[in-house]
Structures are given as structure tokens and as C-alpha cells.
Symmetry: C2
Subunit: 170 residues, 2 copies
DNA sequence: CAAGATTGACACATCAATCTTG
DNA sequence: CAAGATTGATGTGTCAATCTTG
């Protein structure tokens, strides 16, 4: 097996994946920035909090759910706190930890931003795929995350009920 | 049809795609930074030039092949030029355009970086997938790019031979 | 006036260093 | 000393403005 280079099929697949990975963030960010004044990552953080018990999550847990590093998350939470969307409190059970909690204003922000964001996701990702491809992509995503995220930090990977979702609770 | 929210299947698929899009760039960047001193985007730019006729491409064309905006590409080319990997020259045929050209040092850089990069792509993307999933992902990528990149700027989309690849010419 | 490209200001991500608590 | 988290410095991307040529 030639592991040094890619064959034509592998290369074609890889090139398309690279293009998707380059283009998708820009599409999500520009829609959310324009219509709701937040980046996609900020929205995603707010959405994860909106689905958590008591709208609260420890920083480490939130970082896992959003596939982010702790420093990145810390900076983002600071900005969201300044804007009044999130509060930070020391964790009662562990003095080292801190809890991020969605405020009422933060909740309103996610609720307001969600419909437009969901439309963008549908238009750019869900709608172009057949039902079969949707299932395939889910399995492919799982396979890739096995390697990209060996710790399996995405909650959904270990929770068949998949209670984690990209939308505020209904 | 409920277009306002995602159902469980759609949400699971979307969450995994988001995780992949968040994690993959970091994996590619850190390997290439560590082993070759370039970001993945820089590597990709050099690789695209290495496959072009005369190792030369107009900025607009290079931006299309790398799914980048012109300002982003312009900044990156300036940095690569400073490091001696690329040269910029005014285009003879169109006074507004400029040509980016890979230097000998740039060629050496891609050639040196490629094997490690290809190993990373195999380990994280190609190897975890079955041959069937590889084909599926290629089709899925094409479907998504139809929407994400309506202009179909990726050369491969219009060129069945798919001569564009993520590796220096052999 | 549009197309090709560049620039500068600003925002965000990353990395290493740091601080505090278990 | 490790785990949880934060901070500051640096590098890169984005957006709007600009410049030049067709």
C-alpha cells in the first residue's frame, strides 16, 4: 500500500472535505453576525447552556460539548459575560471549578437567533442531502470523531438518547 | 414540514459535523506547524501552486482553488513571499492581475511537508472510513458544495479528471 | 463603473505562562 | 504535583476602504 500519497478517489474526497471545512464556518458566522450579532461559536455555546440542567455547565464540560479548548472558551465566556448573556460563578462542590450560567438575556438571544440559524443549516447542509446521505453523514461523522476526539468528549457519542442539540429546549 | 427546528436524526448529524469542523483544522494545523512550520492553509496554497502549470496561478484563481477570500489569500501570500516560498509578479496579459509563483524553496517546503501531512490525513480521515463511506463522503461533499459554493469554484467540480490534488506533482 | 488586488483596523484563536485548589 | 481555569502576547482571518486597470 502506498501510504505516502493519495490515490485519485481519496484525493477527490479529501479536497471536497477541505472545501467544506473552509467554507461552512464563514457561512454560519456571517448569517449569525448579520442577523443576531454573534459568531457561530458563541451561538453554539449559548445553545449548549440552554439545554443544560439549570442552564448551567462547568467550564470543562462546556468545553467538551463545544469541542473547544479551555482558553478559547474562557475568552468567549468573558465576552458573553460582558454582554450580559452569561454569568460565571465559583462551583460550590469544587473550588477550582467555575460554572457558566445562561442569563435571561442570553436565553432571549438564543431563542431569537435560532430560527434564522436553523434555516441556514437546512439550506446549506440538510436540504442538499438525501435522507440516505443524512444517515451516512451521521455515521461518517461518528467514525471521524473516533479519531479526532478519542476521548469521546461529545456527549452524544456516549449517550444514545442524544440529548445534546443545537437548539434551545422547547 | 417543521422547518423551525431539527428532528433527532438531523440534530445528531449536524452536531457531529460541527464537531468535525471544529476539530479537524486544529489537528491539521498543529501537525504541520510542529513538523514543517506552516499552517494547513499555507501548505494547501503551496500544494495548489505546485500542481499548477509553471507553478504559477493568478491570485483570483488561487483563491478559488483554496476556497479563500482574496484579502485572506493576499495576506498569506505576503507572508509566504517574505519567507521565500512564493514570488508575486504582475500578470503580462492583464495589468490588474498578479501571478503567484512557487519558488524552488517553496517546492522543497511542500515536498518536505507532504509525507507527514498525508499520514495525518490518513490517520484522521481516510483510515477510519470504509471504502463505501469514502465514496459516500465524496458525494456528500459534492452535494454540500453545490450550496456552499454555488459558483462551483473548486476546479474538481467541473473537471471529472480532478487534476487538482492535495500533494505536489510526482 | 466593474474587476483584480492590496491594505489597515479590528476581532478572534492559540500557545505558553500563571494562579488557585484538590 | 495534577486539575480547573484564566490571562496576555502573538498570529491569523475578516471587513471595509482603497487603489489601479480594463
Amino acid at each position: 500500500v502506498e501510504t505516502r500519497w493519495l490515490n485519485a478517489d481519496e484525493r477527490a474526497t479529501w479536497l471536497r472535505l477541505v472545501a467544506v471545512v473552509e467554507l461552512l464556518p464563514g457561512v454560519l458566522d456571517s448569517q449569525l453576525r448579520r442577523d443576531a450579532g454573534v459568531t457561530h461559536f458563541e451561538y453554539f455555546v449559548l445553545a449548549m447552556l440552554s439545554e443544560a440542567t439549570d442552564h448551567t455547565l462547568r467550564m470543562t464540560s462546556l468545553a467538551q460539548r463545544t469541542s473547544a479548548t479551555l482558553p478559547r472558551l474562557s475568552h468567549v465566556i468573558r465576552r458573553l459575560e460582558r454582554r450580559g448573556f452569561v454569568e460565571r460563578n465559583p462551583c460550590p462542590e469544587d473550588g477550582r471549578a467555575s460554572n457558566a450560567r445562561l442569563t435571561a438575556a442570553g436565553w432571549d438571544e438564543v431563542v431569537a437567533a435560532a430560527p434564522g440559524h436553523v434555516r441556514t443549516v437546512r439550506r446549506n447542509v440538510l436540504d442538499p442531502l438525501t435522507p440516505a446521505q443524512l444517515t451516512q453523514l451521521r455515521r461518517i461523522g461518528e467514525a471521524l470523531l473516533t479519531q479526532l476526539d478519542p476521548e469521546g468528549r461529545m456527549t452524544g457519542l456516549y449517550n444514545p438518547a442524544d440529548t445534546v442539540g443545537d437548539a434551545p429546549a422547547r
